[in-house]
């Protein structure tokens, strides 16, 4: 579902890059040409991208869990099909993104291992629980909505495979966002119980959605490299502002109250002014102290561990088939 601005700064390795190659690389980026897997690239660019793309892929996969929590309880067959298809799309996004990262020289197994050992991060939003059916709509509207703000600029990312994956992913995400909003609209037109569920879901997910854009620019780790390399094109606060500006009028149409007493429209700037997210909660969620962090990782590790015998069987069978084919060929010769 989506990438988060965390840890994008990469520790520089001691080795100096060849200045001529570096200049040609930067010139290519400045001409808005794509960098492809076989092109020369500085080690730090590669490392930054591997970190960001794998983090993004992990977020898609872990993101299947909070929504998956409602699949067996969806209240109509139509909603069940839509939710299943959405969660499946996220699995598909994870696949494209792992493949995009693999073009940079890391294997899916290594990335999965990094996720399972806690070495790699994923978006903090998925460490929040989905507690009522309206959460499914609110995740679509707010979480996919925030993801789209982050991801639209990534469609122009300098690294070709990532940019191309993002184009496809963004199309699906905007469909998810509209679907989530429509789910909430339907509930708002329903009973008082349903309206309360929507308000409750938005109360819980609004701030975590704002935190998806990462720390405030003033506290953000150095993103100069990512900006110069055109991996990142807007700062965290710029993207957050765009999201707030787009979302507040949608909340008004929906008829819910966003849980921020400081939220107001500023005539002078033409933007909404909003309060300060609880960054302590954010950093804690990133560190593993969110209410669902341990549960999410445990579920991922369990699926992987429980499925080990299946993957091993598939590999063993493929090996036997190959041997049989080769034996057949030799016998024919």
């Amino acid at each position: 579902m989506y990438t988060q601005s965390l840890n994008t700064a990469v520790q520089r390795d001691g080795a100096e890059e060849d200045p001529q190659k570096l200049a040609a690389f930067q010139a290519k980026i400045d001409r808005e040409e794509k960098i492809e897997p076989n092109d020369w690239m500085p080690a730090a660019y590669r490392k930054t991208l591997i970190r960001q793309i794998s983090q993004h892929a992990h977020s898609e996969i872990v993101g299947m869990l909070p929504e998956g929590n409602w699949i067996t309880r969806a209240p109509s067959l139509k909603r069940k099909a839509a939710l299943l298809a959405k969660v499946q799309d996220e699995g598909g996004h994870g696949l494209y993104l792992y493949s995009a990262a693999e073009t940079l020289g890391i294997s899916r197994e290594e990335m999965v291992e990094q996720l399972h050992t806690g070495k790699a991060k994923y978006s903090s939003i998925f460490n929040y629980p989905t507690l009522n059916w309206a959460d499914v709509g609110a995740v679509g509207w707010l979480v996919d909505g925030a993801a789209i703000m982050n991801q639209i600029p990534l469609c122009r990312c300098s690294y070709g495979p990532y940019a191309r994956a993002m184009i496809r992913i963004c199309k699906e995400e905007s469909f998810h966002q509209r679907q989530g909003y429509e789910l909430l609209l339907t509930m708002m037109k329903g009973s008082e119980d349903q309206r309360q569920m929507v308000q409750d879901a938005v109360n819980r997910l609004w701030w975590p959605a704002l935190m998806m854009f990462g720390p405030s620019d003033k506290d953000s780790v150095n993103t100069a490299d990512s900006m110069r390399w055109k991996i990142k094109r807007f700062t965290n606060d710029e993207l957050r502002q765009k999201f707030v500006d787009a979302t507040v009028p949608q909340a008004e149409v929906l008829g819910i109250t966003l849980p921020d007493p400081d939220l107001r429209f500023d005539e002078e700037s033409g933007h909404y002014v909003y309060g300060e997210p609880n960054w302590e909660e954010f950093y804690n969620s990133i560190k593993g102290n969110g209410i669902c962090n341990k549960q999410r990782l445990k579920d991922r590790v369990k699926a992987h561990t429980d499925g080990a015998w299946v993957r091993e069987a598939a590999l063993a069978y493929a090996r036997k088939e190959r041997e049989r084919r080769e034996a057949g060929k030799q016998a024919a010769e």
Partner: protein, 250 residues
């Protein structure tokens, strides 16, 4: 006759709904991403099929019950799905064998139902047949991989085959409802497709050197609403919101 047709259509709808609910339990939890996506595809096909069948059953009944009223507001004893399909996802081998036994049957079933004199059922069968052919190919490939994979996968799939075998007989039962409709050229003579099903099972099992169980005692009851203990647990989460907040639009 309308009553028989309703009963018959509901059986097929319940089969699809209960299997989709079981398969949906894998989403996000399968052994690897590719298989997660594949199992979800099969679940989505089953939901699509359930929706068409419930909607048609509701029209036949003519009491204003729509697909959701029929799926979410009936009790365990009113559900008439096959016992095989409510069996739990004990592990991937159970899920694959359940799918394989059912897909091998239902592909033949839809092929026959395509010539039903009831045009709506024939139309649904034509769509479902294409999907079932894919489900059968997918599950059969896994039967072979697990049977001829590692020692562990072989022992797991042997266990699942042995356990689920006793639920396969029910697929070929013909009761009064099915027989009356078959005589009118509407329903499928399920007993008649059994030899082709046996052949399909034998061929796939032979590829992995798996034995077909010899047990002949078969469980029955699903078509009359007499289920295993599992069905209640399938329905409880599925129907929770509709039961807790009746009569709402979601």
């Amino acid at each position: 006759m309308a009553n028989d047709l309703f009963t018959y259509t509901m059986r097929l709808a319940d089969d699809a709904a209960i299997l989709s609910q079981r398969l949906a339990g894998w989403c996000g939890h399968a052994s690897h991403l590719e298989e997660d996506i594949a199992l979800t595809n099969i679940a989505l096909d089953q939901i699509g099929c359930a929706r068409l069948l419930y909607a048609y059953a509701g029209e036949i009944e003519g009491k204003g019950r729509d697909e959701d009223a029929l799926c979410f507001n009936r009790n365990e004893r009113e559900f008439t799905n096959l016992l095989l399909l409510e069996q739990p996802n004990d592990d991937f081998a159970y899920a694959i064998v359940r799918q394989f036994f059912y897909s091998a049957y239902v592909l033949l079933f839809w092929q026959a139902l395509k010539s039903s004199k009831d045009e709506r059922l024939a139309g649904i069968a034509a769509k479902a047949e294409k999907e079932a052919a894919y489900h059968l190919r997918h599950s059969a490939e896994w039967v072979v991989r697990l049977g001829d994979g590692t020692e562990e996968s072989r022992s797991r799939i042997e266990e699942a085959i042995e356990f689920l075998w006793m639920y396969t007989g029910e697929m070929f039962e013909m009761d009064e409802v099915a027989t009356a409709l078959a005589e009118q050229g509407i329903a499928v003579d399920a007993a008649a497709i059994k030899p082709a099903w046996n052949k399909s099972i034998n061929e796939v099992f032979a590829r992995a050197d798996l034995s077909v169980p010899t047990g002949t005692w078969m469980q029955t009851g699903g078509r009359n609403g007499e289920h295993s203990e599992h069905l209640g647990h399938v329905l409880a989460p599925m129907q929770y919101l509709q039961r807790a907040y009746p009569g709402l639009v979601w």
